[in-house]
C-alpha cells in the first residue's frame, strides 16, 4: 500500500497530474488516428492502387471480389505485422529502459536485435527451412544471450551502469555479432541479397503465417510487460528505496530482460531488426505522458504501432514499384534522434 502511494506521488508530481491526464488522452487519440489513417493508406498502396473508400469497400465487400482477395491475403497481414512489430519493439524499449534505469537501453543498443538477427541468418542460411516457432525460439535465445552479455559487461564491478558504458559495451557486442553474421553470409553466398533485405528489417513480405507465428509471443510479452509496470515504477525510485519497499530488485531486473527479449526476439524473427523504434518511441511518449509505466507501456505500444505503419507507407514511395525495407526508413528517422539523445545524455552525466 505504501509502495503504491509512493509510486503515484513520484510518477505524477501534483501540479502536473491533471495536465498529464489531458495530454495522455490527446496522445492516445492522436496515436489511434494516425494508426488507423496509416493502416488505410498502407492498404491502398500496391500494384493496384486503391482510394481509401475503395479500401473500406474491399475490406467489407463480398469475398468473391478481386479487391477483397488482394486486400485480405496480401495487404492486411502486412499492415497487421507492421502494427504488431512496432508495438512490441516500442514496449521492449520501455521495459529495457526501466529495467536498466538507463535511457539509452534499447533493443538496438543492447545487442538484442543483433543477437536475434545472427540466429535468424543462421536459421536461414545453415539450417534452411528453420521457420515458424522454432525460429522464434532460437531468436529469443540469441537475443537473451546478447542482452545478458552486454548488461554483464557494462555493469560488471560497478553499482550502476552509466549510459556511456552500456552504449560502448552494446556496440562492441553488436560488432562481434555483426561480424559473425557477415561471416555466415560470406561463406554461404547463395541468396545474399534476400537475406540482406531481411537483415535491414521490414514487413514487406508478410503473410498470415507470420501473424500466427508472432501473435502468441507478442501477447505473452505484452501481458508480462503490464505485470511488470508496478515493479518498474517502484524500481524508478532508486534501487535502495525499491529494496526498502520490499521489491525483489534482481528478480524484477531478470524478468524485465526476459520480457524484453521475448518481445524483441519474436519481432526480429518475423520481421528482421526494424531499427530504433524501441529507442525513439518510449522517449517521446515519456516526455508527453510522464513516467508511470501503467500508462507509458500501452501508449508506447500504440505509438510504436502507428510509427511503423506510417514508416511502411513511407518506404513504399522510396523506389516504387520496388520494395524498400521498412527498417531503412525507421533507421533514417531514428539516427538524428539518437544523436540528439546522446548529446543530452552526456550533458546530464557530466
Amino acid at each position: 500500500m505504501a509502495a503504491r502511494t509512493l509510486t503515484r506521488r513520484a510518477s505524477r508530481p501534483c501540479s502536473s497530474a491533471a495536465t498529464h491526464h489531458v495530454t495522455t488522452a490527446v496522445v492516445v487519440a492522436l496515436g489511434l488516428a494516425l494508426l488507423v489513417a496509416g493502416a488505410i493508406w498502407d492498404l491502398g498502396i500496391g500494384a493496384s492502387g486503391m482510394s481509401p473508400g475503395a479500401v473500406l469497400h474491399a475490406l467489407a465487400g463480398p469475398a468473391s471480389s478481386i479487391s477483397h482477395q488482394i486486400v485480405w491475403t496480401i495487404r492486411v497481414p502486412r499492415v497487421l505485422l507492421a502494427a504488431i512489430v512496432g508495438g512490441t519493439m516500442a514496449v521492449a524499449g520501455v521495459i529495457m529502459q526501466g529495467t536498466a534505469a538507463n535511457p539509452l537501453a534499447a533493443p538496438d543498443i543492447v545487442g538484442v536485435s543483433a543477437g536475434a538477427a545472427l540466429v535468424g541468418v543462421a536459421g536461414t542460411v545453415i539450417f534452411a527451412g528453420l521457420g515458424g516457432t522454432a525460429l522464434v525460439l532460437a531468436s529469443i535465445g540469441g537475443a537473451a544471450a546478447a542482452a545478458f552479455c552486454v548488461i554483464g559487461i557494462a555493469g560488471a564491478g560497478q553499482g550502476r551502469t552509466g549510459p556511456a558504458r552500456l552504449a560502448l559495451a552494446g556496440v562492441t557486442v553488436t560488432a562481434m555479432l555483426l561480424a559473425l553474421t557477415q561471416a555466415l553470409l560470406l561463406l554461404h553466398q547463395t541468396g545474399t541479397a534476400g537475406v540482406f533485405f531481411w537483415l535491414v528489417g521490414g514487413v514487406n513480405f508478410a503473410s498470415w503465417q507470420d501473424i500466427h507465428t508472432i501473435a502468441p509471443w507478442a501477447a505473452a510479452g505484452m501481458a508480462g510487460a503490464m505485470l511488470l509496470a508496478r515493479p518498474l515504477n517502484i524500481l524508478a525510485l532508486g534501487e535502495d528505496t525499491a529494496r526498502g519497499l520490499g521489491l525483489k530488485v534482481t528478480r524484477t531486473r531478470i524478468l524485465g530482460v526476459l520480457c524484453t527479449v521475448c518481445l524483441a526476439g519474436s519481432a526480429v524473427a518475423v520481421a528482421g531488426p526494424v531499427a530504433f523504434v524501441g529507442l525513439i518511441v518510449p522517449h517521446i511518449v515519456r516526455l508527453l505522458v510522464g513516467t508511470n509505466h501503467l500508462v507509458l507501456i500501452p501508449v508506447s505500444g500504440l505509438c510504436g504501432a502507428a510509427l511503423v505503419t506510417l514508416a511502411d507507407v513511407a518506404c513504399r514511395y522510396v523506389q516504387f514499384p520496388f520494395e524498400t525495407p521498412t527498417g531503412v526508413v525507421t533507421a533514417l528517422l531514428g539516427t538524428p534522434f539518437f544523436i540528439y539523445l546522446a548529446r543530452s545524455q552526456a550533458r546530464r552525466t557530466r
Binding site: 539509452l104 538496438d108 543498443i109 552479455c149 554483464g152 559487461i153 560488471a156 564491478g157 552509466g162 549510459p163 556511456a164 558504458r165 552504449a167 560502448l168 559495451a169 552494446g170 556496440v171 562492441t172 557486442v173 560488432a175 562481434m176 561480424a179 559473425l180 557477415q182 561471416a183 553470409l185 560470406l186 553466398q189 545474399t192 541479397a193 540482406f196 533485405f197 537483415l199 535491414v200 531499427a275 530504433f276 523506389q319 524498400t324 525495407p325 527498417g327 531503412v328 533507421a331 533514417l332 531514428g334 539516427t335 539518437f338 544523436i339 539523445l341 546522446a342 548529446r343 545524455q345 552526456a346 550533458r347 552525466t349 557530466r350
Partner: protein
C-alpha cells in the same frame, strides 16, 4: 604524475617483465610468424625458397612472393600497428577501455565511403576505393567532433556521440546495399576487412602515414598520460586539454582511416591490442603504445595467415578471423570482470 586512470582501474596490471625484453620478444614472434606466413599461399610454397625470394634471390617463386605474399605480410605489420596505436590513443583520450576506432564510428565512416564507391560507382577505378574509405573515416571524425562539441568536448559525449555516428553510418550502408545491390558481395568482403589481392602499391599507400604518424603519437605520449588524470587536473598541470585531445584524436583517426583504406573495416584489433599491451606493460602510453603496435601486427599476421591457410584456395577475410579471436577475448574480459 603520469599514473593514468587506466592503471588505477586495474591495480594488478603492473609491468612484470622489463620493456626491452617484451619489445624484443614481440618483434621476434612477429618475424617468426611473418616467415611462416611467406610460405602460406593459395599453393603451398617451400619455406626456404619463399624466404630467399622475399630477400631478392630470383627463383621460381619470386613473382608470387614479391607481388602477392610479401606485400600482404608487410601490410599486416603496418595495418596492425596503425590499428593498435589508434585504439590505444582513443581509449586513452576517451578514458574508456571499451572505446576503439570501430566503436566511435571511424571504421563505419570508412565503410560508407568505400561502399559508396563500390556500389554506386561500380565503373570507377579500383584506386578510388581506398581514397573513398580514407575520406569517409576522416569525415566521420569531423562529424563526430562537430556534433560532440559544445564549449569543448568531454570524453563521455565523444563516446556516446561516436556510437550514434556509427549508427548513422550503419543506416547509410544498409540503404546503399539495398538500393544498389549489384556488387553486394564485394562490398561485404570490404566491410569485413581483407587483404586479399593487395599488392605493393597498397604498401606504398599506407607506409608514409604509419612512418610519420607513429612517431608523432609517441611524441604526445606523456600528454596523453596527463589527460588520463581528468580534465581539471590536466589543465591545472598546464595542459591545453582541448587542443591536445583534438590533435591526438585526429592522429589516431588518420591512422585508423589509413589502415581501413588498404585493409577494409577490420574489427577488434584496435580494441584488443591496447588491452593486451596494457596488461603487459602497465598504463603509461610511452610504454604500452609501442607494444600495442607490435601486438596489433601479431593479430593481423595470425589472422591473415590463417585466412590464407585454413582452406586454400578460399581466402577467408582477415577481419572475420580477428572477430572470431576478438569475440571470445571480449567474453573472457567479461568473465574476469564479473569475478
Amino acid at each position: 604524475m603520469a599514473a593514468a586512470t587506466l592503471t588505477a582501474a586495474r591495480p594488478r596490471a603492473r609491468a612484470r617483465t622489463s620493456l626491452p625484453v617484451l619489445l624484443a620478444g614481440l618483434v621476434a614472434a612477429d618475424l617468426a610468424i611473418s616467415v611462416v606466413s611467406l610460405s602460406v599461399s593459395g599453393a603451398h610454397l617451400p619455406l626456404w625458397a619463399a624466404v630467399q625470394a622475399a630477400f631478392g634471390t630470383h627463383n621460381a617463386y619470386s613473382t608470387v612472393v614479391t607481388q602477392s605474399v610479401l606485400p600482404r605480410v608487410l601490410l599486416c605489420w603496418l595495418v596492425g600497428a596503425a590499428l593498435g596505436v589508434s585504439g590505444g590513443v582513443i581509449q586513452g583520450v576517451i578514458r574508456n577501455p571499451l572505446a576503439s576506432p570501430d566503436v566511435i564510428g571511424i571504421s563505419k565512416g570508412a565503410a560508407v565511403g568505400a561502399a559508396l564507391i563500390i556500389l554506386v560507382f561500380p565503373a570507377a577505378s579500383a584506386n578510388l576505393i581506398p581514397a573513398g574509405a580514407f575520406a569517409g573515416g576522416i569525415l566521420a571524425f569531423f562529424v563526430l567532433y562537430f556534433l560532440a562539441h559544445k564549449k569543448g568536448v568531454t570524453p563521455v559525449r565523444l563516446a556516446l556521440t561516436g556510437v550514434a555516428v556509427a549508427a548513422v553510418g550503419d543506416a547509410l550502408i544498409r540503404f546503399l546495399l539495398i538500393r544498389w545491390p549489384a556488387n553486394i558481395n564485394q562490398a561485404l568482403v570490404w566491410m569485413v576487412g581483407s587483404l586479399y589481392g593487395r599488392g605493393p602499391s597498397a604498401v606504398v599507400g599506407i607506409l608514409p602515414w604509419v612512418a610519420v604518424l607513429l612517431p608523432a603519437v609517441l611524441y604526445f605520449a606523456r600528454r596523453l598520460d596527463v589527460l588520463g588524470l581528468g580534465d581539471d587536473l590536466a589543465s591545472g598541470l598546464g595542459e591545453r586539454v582541448e587542443l591536445t585531445r583534438f590533435v591526438t584524436l585526429l592522429l589516431a583517426v588518420v591512422l585508423a582511416s589509413a589502415a581501413a583504406s588498404v585493409a577494409g573495416a577490420i574489427t577488434f584489433v584496435g580494441l584488443m591490442a591496447p588491452h593486451i599491451a596494457r596488461r603487459l606493460a602497465g598504463g603509461k602510453h610511452l610504454r604500452y603504445l609501442p607494444l600495442a603496435a607490435l601486438i596489433g601486427a601479431t593479430l593481423m599476421l595470425v589472422a591473415d595467415t590463417l585466412g590464407r591457410g585454413i582452406d586454400p584456395p578460399l581466402d577467408i577475410p582477415a577481419g572475420l578471423i580477428t572477430a572470431f579471436i576478438g569475440g571470445p577475448y571480449f567474453l573472457y574480459l567479461l568473465v574476469k570482470a564479473v569475478r
